[in-house]
Amino acid sequence: MSRGFDTERWTGLDGLVLAAAGAGVFTREASLLLAAGLGVVVLGYVRVAAIPEVSLRVERDLSDATPDPDDEVEVTLRVTNEGSRTLFDIRVVDGVPPALGVADGPARLGTALRPGATATATYTVTAVRGEHAWEETVVVVRDPSGAVESRETVSAETTLRCEPELAATADLPLRGLTSKYAGRVETDVPGSGLEFASIREYRHGDPIRRIDWNRRARTGELATVEFREERAAAVVLVVDTRPEAHVAPDDEAETAVERSVDAASVAFSALLDSGDSVGVAAFGPDECWLAPSSGADHRARARRLFATHPAFAPTPPDGAFFPSVAVRRLRRRLASDAQVIFCSPLVDDYGVSVARRLEAYGHAVTVVSPDPTTTATIGARLARIERDLRLRELRRSGVRVLDWGDEPLGVALARAEAGWSR
């Protein structure tokens, strides 16, 4: 069987055997010749080394296939030798999904398996939001002498889906994030939702119904009443999912995109509760658009979107991304009076320009920016300075920015709210 490759593990033994035999003859010592003979036997053993046909079955069990975030899920991996020959040396490495980290026990095992035997390994992963599929399991097979090795892969489909509930936080101070009054609208039919706004001087051509007759009766002047329509604002939560936004202060922390998605899902729930129609969009290589709407179905759709859409996955995307095309597409989809809440860490200048462009197009933009900077290295401190400068620049252009550090989102919102209402 010509499976596998030569590891060159025993290279050089033939030289030792020759040297021993030569020394044995030179010194007339039979013992050295015997030692050389032993070496020849080992060389023969290495020569006939071979790996049989590898036929393995892998099964994986999860203690909970739909956990909540930060739950510990125990994974049991079972490897069975379905072939007819013993596998003397197998080293198994399980394909843990890239977004999940193992909390306890390596996801590996090493053993020898007789035909029909099963080996088991257990380890624990910490759940994070998203849909995670296990990759192929890698098995390194060797013959008993270690001279021949082969890399095999086996697959078992396993998926972990973590869909957190959209937080029902009715007391989140979100008033500052959106403005309720979308602008002046002239309509003929007063009804609920119309509010008296102002009186102005009569202009030729104003509809007769709009004349304020009380004033005419009192003073004899002609004046027109204007109404302002209170309409539920359409808000679109745009999440920055570009590769540049996938940064984190250290290995253990959440990435900036994960925090942005957290903020977006919290804002979604709260805005929906207060009667606005809310939509979701992703700004990045993976496209995602949920048009603004309201209702229980819409909430369920958004929950599924935040949890399982590949655009919001915690792993960096790898696809072509054309920023200007994406901005144009977003502009086309946004209603002319839609407000935008842009969730982005603002670690590069393009995020700033997106916010300013949307504001220039006439959408009221609020930026919610999780802070992923740290002070661990010189570059990190410089990045913190740069981000601070970007926030100042945005604020100077009239865009509201919520700088979200380590505190809970509610605290950051309250602090910002206090600042904005001044």
Binding site: A19, E149, V247, P316, I378
Partner: protein, 190 residues
């Protein structure tokens, strides 16, 4: 099996059998001198050592296993600046990397002076030229001001091992951090 292998196998089996035969007492009518024997043995030993040398040159082939236990690693913000610092300090100094480092710090210092300290852009550029934007001469000098560092301080820096590019860049970043705060440079403050 190749012809050469077959030949060696034949020689091997015949020689070993003949050897055992002589050991068992069968006379084969061969006479060999000591010197010849010593020569053959020495040659065999040397050839053996050559084969052993081969091991040093042969790399071991084995599968490399990945690290699926770890979460996929994402960079920390600013790691590209750290990379530039490392390549700027390399043995073959990367002038491009060094220029990037200095340019970036210059740009940020100017922006900080405008945004945090309320200066006008021309004023900020002038401050960078004279070095008046900070009270740290090392940082001022790093961004191109012709400020002289007192000899004593220079010696102290050299002795304490803080004169490398990374250290100077670090001091400059610290100086930029201080722009606009209360412990900025003395002088006109708006």
């Amino acid at each position: 099996m190749t012809l050469a292998r077959r030949l060696f196998l034949l020689v091997g089996v015949v020689a070993t059998a003949a050897g055992f035969a002589v050991v068992a007492g069968v006379s084969l009518g061969l006479e060999l001198t000591d010197i010849f024997l010593g020569l053959v043995a020495a040659l065999a030993a040397l050839q053996g050592l050559r084969y052993v040398q081969r091991r040093r040159e042969t790399p071991m082939n084995t599968t490399v296993t990945g690290d699926p236990e770890a979460r996929v690693a994402v960079p920390i913000p600013g790691s590209d600046f750290d990379d530039d610092l490392v390549s700027a300090m390399g043995r073959h100094t990367h002038w491009a990397a060094r220029k990037r480092v200095v340019d970036r710090l210059e740009a940020r210092a100017t922006q900080a002076l405008v945004a945090r300290d309320g200066r006008a852009p021309e004023e900020a550029a002038a401050l960078l030229d004279t070095g008046g934007w900070t009270d740290d001469p090392v940082a001022a000098r790093f961004l191109g001001a012709s400020v002289s560092i007192p000899l004593r301080q220079r010696v102290r820096l050299f002795l304490s091992g803080q004169s490398s590019l990374t250290d100077r860049a670090g001091r400059t970043v610290a100086a930029i951090e201080r722009i606009g705060t209360d412990d900025g440079p003395a002088g006109e403050r708006r």
